[in-house]
Symmetry: C2
Subunit: 338 residues, 2 copies
């Protein structure tokens, strides 16, 4: 039998209104009554019914995260770590976390957002893997649904976000590779509408320029952010008449596949060829050789996003102009021969 405020009220000979107020910490209630109510509630194991509360308050105390379409899914370690952060932080703000996956279909993604918004499943959203022109951003903004995101889109819409210095990160990586003596460098990226693709590719080009190297379009290939995508891209690159000596990858997952490919081709990684990733997922430390990568605190970013969204939902002011996060270059054996 579920306990409701009505039963507490009966038990104590109070009105349900009084009980409700005592429980919710309103000031217009005598301290004695409040204490009695609180004690009874604890004793009876009362927990407010969510549905009723939601219906009445017109909010859900839940936030949503929908795994973006066109990703390999949580198998990409990045998303797993992102989710730790979300799952960790949400309860601290008394927020539930609702999770779903869009699969490979952008249509399904849109359906999901629309349904969640219209049926008021959640009060706000967390986004990542932002696209240059991102339907999600426009849709949520138009419908005035609170949301925060990792990275910003180019839709001309302002929203609270966390930004990573992708360009600066990759520039420092290219410099490092150059110092190690690697010259011909390839970039294995992803879909062109992804913000990180554009930014990190820009960093790659700038890095080349800084080091006085020429940009060769042939050395920029499109993967799909997965290990198998990286594997194939890397093989294609090695078949070139003049193959690259270093492979800069859009993310660690891609780099895992590249490591595999290089190994299958019998190359010694770190000497014959360099491989580097981006994200610094835990598994990057376990490859052989360990993967050089641009480390960003993925879980922590997710935590901060939840915190930002929580503030947004409570209409608390957000500190503006959060500075961009600088990735940390973790130099490991995959790019240095000693």
């Amino acid at each position: 039998m579920k306990i409701t405020i009505r039963q507490i009220a009966e038990q104590l000979n109070l009105s349900i209104a009084a009980v409700s107020r005592a429980l919710d910490g309103y000031p217009d209630i005598s301290p004695l009554t409040r204490q009695r109510v609180l004690d009874a509630a604890r004793e009876m194991g009362y927990v407010p019914n969510r549905a009723a509360r939601q219906l009445r308050r017109q909010k859900t105390d839940a936030i949503g995260y929908i795994l973006p379409s066109g990703t390999p899914g949580f198998s990409e370690a990045f998303f797993a770590e992102f989710l730790i952060g979300l799952g960790d932080q949400a309860p601290r703000h008394n927020l539930d976390l609702l999770v779903s996956t869009a699969g490979s279909s952008p249509v399904r993604e849109q359906d999901l957002y629309r349904t969640w918004v219209r049926s008021q499943k959640v009060d706000g959203f967390i986004l990542n893997r932002i696209r240059l022109n991102d339907w999600r951003v426009r849709y949520l903004a138009e419908n005035q649904i609170p949301f925060v995101a990792l990275e910003r889109s180019l839709d001309g819409i302002e929203y609270p976000h966390i930004e990573v210095d992708n360009i600066g990160g990759v520039v420092s990586l290219v410099n490092h590779l150059h110092e190690q003596g690697f010259r011909r460098m390839a970039f294995i990226g992803g879909p062109e509408d992804l913000k990180i693709q554009v930014a990190r590719l820009a960093g790659y080009r700038q890095g080349l320029a800084d080091c006085g190297m020429v940009f060769d379009p042939e050395l920029v290939v499109e993967g799909d952010l997965s290990a198998s995508g990286g594997y194939q891209a890397a093989r294609r690159l090695r078949w070139l008449p003049n193959p690259p000596e270093a492979m800069v990858c859009l993310n660690d997952e891609t780099a895992f596949g590249v490591l595999h490919a290089m190994h299958d081709l019998g190359l010694e990684i770190g000497r014959d060829v360099a491989v580097a990733g981006f994200d610094g997922v835990a598994a990057s430390a376990h490859t052989r050789p360990a993967l050089t990568t641009l480390d960003i605190p993925v879980a922590e970013i997710a935590q901060n996003l939840v915190q930002m969204l929580a503030q947004l939902l409570e209409n608390k002011p957000l500190e503006e102009n959060r500075p961009a996060l600088h990735p940390r270059l973790l130099v490991r054996a995959s790019t240095s021969s000693h």
Copy 2:
């Protein structure tokens, strides 16, 4: 402005009851009216309000998964893959997936379950990492909350579950190691109250017996299912006067740490020492050398669990006696020298 059945009713000059029935597919409504309602609903972008529906129906159409306490979190790839399965399958049954993490505290874990049950956040639960005597199993059974689980506990409570042939799996692994010429084998496990610990350890002992090897308690050490736990355990083992030639690990994550430790000690893995894991997470293919492991279809198992829970929630009969799943031994370079 949110669309409710009331607005559809006004639009069509119908009662809200008629609209509700038309939408829910009741038979006592004229086909014409139904069509009009359906059309209007689609046109107006109507989506039922969850909270209202829940309150009325006394169910949530949501299922819950709480990351068990005492785990490294989603950073253990096993959980990430498990979650893909859940997130993938839940929407197919029109179920929402609510996710939280218990952190390291069993108390918090109990709080979470109690709160979710009492506030009726979800209709049922998915459990994994079952303990021999598992509070969650007893609590949910006592409160008649539907749940399904990966592995069963020893609480004498029947519940729908999926079981893995842990013993048979490890036996075949030990045999493989023996064939490869490895003799002194260690077992790096986890907390003793875990079902998988007991079962896989039993497989290890039986495997030793099958091969005519003696069991040495010194070679059984306790990790914590994390890479760093594996790292430390492996170093401890190598410091023994007569160190083991093979390390059987409770899960892949532990094995990752062991690989690291062996490498740091300058040993050639696959020849000087063998290392094997359990679960077959994606990352196990990316280590160098690649990790021999007992592969189970983690995501698929999670999908099946959702399906079972969905059936349970609809009071549909479950096929009894689902046979135990046999892990697939993936022999890779970490246990074979050629």
